[in-house]
Symmetry: C2
Subunit: 212 residues, 2 copies
DNA sequence: ATTAGAAAGTTATTTTTTTAACAAAGTATT
DNA sequence: AATACTTTGTTAAAAAAATAACTTTCTAAT
């Protein structure tokens, strides 16, 4: 891989999954090449921007043909590190935590769901698919023993910060945060905030613009 | 409200919920004012950027004091249109749809959850909290009768596009999309994509940067 | 073989966004 | 009342990002 992949601008990182998503839809169409112009049509980004983004990582295109869809998907997978195996746990087995257990996107992106944790004795010991709900008491040891990289956090707000600290202490390098709290984490820890109510805010804001 | 709120740059809209979130945490602290410098500390944005963002909407600050936390929250609510009532339905009562029913963020942002819809006969008629799961057959009429503004979409990928089209046809003005599909919608329709696997992509991408 | 066309990759330009600097206004202190 | 201090709101400068334009390379058709 190109050495430039060491410090990819965030603005480009945000677009990579979008390219990936659209290309996947085309995987088994007749034509095996796609031009930047066509991809622009699909994604809403300009063709110029797309060529520039991709050329940041290497020369994946073929002059007068475009990009081989299969190869480009392959390259994007590598850039996004899907081939690098990552262990995941879910902390908090409430409605959202349970929904996350059933998410189908892990394997394709190199994630292995290793465990689910909760404090509620009524939940501990139950199975969601083939994943057992364990007590949060076991969480830290589990993180160390199973070399967990990422923890999805779906606990109540009140315990979010404390739980995050325990997880970091135990060795996770990233937190996929679903609580509606502004977590404070050291800057060597990756924090991906998935605060769904922010989506509601944005929608509300935009609706409002049309009425004022 | 300031007339400039008619076309707020997206980049600012994205930061508003973040200011809001951090200010809410401070609501009942002793000091009732906060400086842009302090808010910068909390949010990670520069104080300069914060002052500029806020001044886009009006003069909310007080020289040598800072911003009144309560008033600023109030102003942000107005800018984001939380005072404007919006009707919401959830389409798809699977794990994620059910988790969304239990989300606590609606009221505060001006949303009223009016209904949940699914195709599965085993689910239809059941209650989640006090919300009845209805058949998707009834969906379009319901949207018209109840003047639904926003639909949260948590249906399987295969029916995502078709369902979106039905909803738009019936009159929703925004879709809060949780499917992992690249939906195509007319450009007068608001589309807020909440594709959780994009979060996984970003985390994976960033982990990968440290290992190459 | 030559020529026209297509589309990537690159460079230059423009636009947007962020940061830095500063002036204005208010506060507190002597 | 005068002075020093804060912190906003604004203006200027810098940096980043996006677009447009251009060059190169490859393909295909005559």
């Amino acid at each position: 891989m190109d050495k430039r992949s060491e410090n990819i601008p965030n603005i480009i990182i945000r677009r990579l999954p979008i390219y990936y998503k659209h290309l996947k839809k085309l995987k088994n169409r007749a034509k095996e090449y796609i031009s930047s112009e066509e991809l622009a049509e699909l994604t809403g980004f300009s063709s110029s921007l797309i060529r520039k983004d991709l050329s940041y990582f290497g020369n994946f295109g073929r002059k007068s043909y475009g990009y081989d869809i299969y190869c480009l998907l392959q390259e994007l997978s590598i850039i996004m590190g899907f081939n690098h195996p990552k262990n995941l746990i879910i902390v908090g087995a409430g409605h959202l935590g349970q929904a996350l257990v059933h998410n189908k996107g892990y394997e394709e992106r190199g994630y292995k769901l290793k465990g689910v944790f909760d404090k509620n004795p009524k939940l501990i010991g139950l199975f969601l698919d083939d994943i057992k709900i364990r007590s949060v008491e076991e969480m830290c040891d589990f993180v160390k023993e199973e070399k967990i990289d990422i923890a999805a956090l779906t606990v109540p707000k009140g315990v979010a910060q404390k739980t995050a600290e325990l997880l970091i202490e135990a060795g996770v390098i990233g937190i996929w945060d679903f609580t509606e709290v502004a977590l404070k984490v050291p800057n060597n820890i990756l924090l991906e905030e998935q605060h769904i109510n922010e989506g509601l805010c944005k929608l509300s804001c935009k609706i409002n613009q049309n009425f004022n």
